[in-house]
Amino acid sequence: MHAQLKSLCFGLAASSLLAATAAQAQATTVLYNERVVEIGQTLPDANDLWVKPEDLTRINDFEFKPEGACYEALCVPVLQDRDSDMYVTRGGQGWFNVTGLADKLQQAYVVDHDDGVWSFGTMPVKRQSFIRGGMAPDFELNDREGNPVRLSDFRGKKVLLLTWASW
């Protein structure tokens, strides 16, 4: 009885502590290629970016699944029954370490801590067929009318891709 009460009190204390820290969490902006993703809540951490699992897909197309963080055929295993450097549970809410995933995948990133803006480079796993096999990386950019143009739209054609600049 005593033990139950104690644990209940502890649970309450822990969750109110979490509520306090969550309230301190600044809004975070994540940049990835052409995306600017606003994240409402992150877990406060001086070094890493922790987001709710459902926000992961908005950031980089990875999906949080029972087997881990997955993109197409690639799955990075993530323990979910206890805390790890990739995933923690606080007050029943799971948090995924986006920068931990980036480190595992050797994806570069730069952060402005003052404003909470995290900028991620292209994932090397998406560049292997380019670096190793000389395949043209696909891209998506809007044309001048705002319509998305993908290189893959041009499959079956010879494409001369030219870069230039006005400066």
Partner: protein, 212 residues
């Protein structure tokens, strides 16, 4: 650019499956690059890439640069300073590139100017882990630039140049907003330093003998 339009019209008439995708590496966006596309009346695909995404994806460090991509998405040539013609009596540019493009459009994989996979792989610029960080640093600088935060734009664009000193694009895009401009003394000094060290401003155009 008007020259590329003439070449596009010529080659498109010969082969309906030929396309040009022209991508401006311009943080200034539509205001900076749009009028140049308009003045040339381009009918090929024209894109304005404020974050220099294409240069970063294809490991390109200068403009203009050209990449040949075949029907299956394989790269057939990459990382060449691709002017359509000589300018100012040969001060820059080349008349040698367009004939090999013509040959490729005519002969496809049989063209002698198509590189094999190992040559393509050799020609893709290597990046150090530091240089890999230059892309997100530049992207962060552009994010601030587009939000009129000049101090932070400068901070992260400078970081990008430090992380990847081989990128002329990062250097010159930043210099555009400084006294002297993108082709001023700071740029000239860098060109001289690189050339004195045996480097080149443009990756050399390697056109094999026997051009038709």
């Amino acid at each position: 650019m008007p020259v590329w339009q003439v070449i596009y019209d010529e080659l498109k008439a010969k082969d309906e499956n030929f396309e040009i995708i022209s991508v401006a590496q311009d943080t200034g966006g539509e205001d900076a690059a749009g009028p140049i596309f308009d003045a040339a009346d381009v009918t090929y695909t024209s894109l304005i890439d404020v974050n220099h995404l294409i240069s970063s994806l294809y490991n390109l460090v200068n403009v203009p640069s050209g990449v040949w991509i075949d029907e299956e998405g394989r790269i057939a040539r990459i990382n060449e300073g691709t002017y359509a013609q000589e300018h100012f009596n040969g001060a820059f540019g080349t008349n040698e590139y367009v004939p090999i493009v013509r040959d490729w459009v005519k002969k496809g994989a049989e063209s002698q100017y198509v590189w094999d996979t190992s040559k393509v792989r050799e020609s893709i610029v290597d990046r150090t882990p530091e240089a890999e960080k230059a892309q997100p640093a530049f992207l962060l600088g552009s994010y601030y630039f587009q939000r009129d935060n000049e101090a932070k734009a400068e901070q992260y664009w400078t970081l990008a140049q430090q992380l990847d000193p081989t990128s002329w694009n990062y250097l010159r895009q930043d210099l555009l907003y400084e006294e002297g401009g993108s082709a001023g003394p700071a740029w000239q000094q860098r060109v001289e330093e690189v050339e004195a060290a045996g480097g080149a401003y443009y990756a050399p155009l390697e056109i094999e003998d026997g051009a038709n």
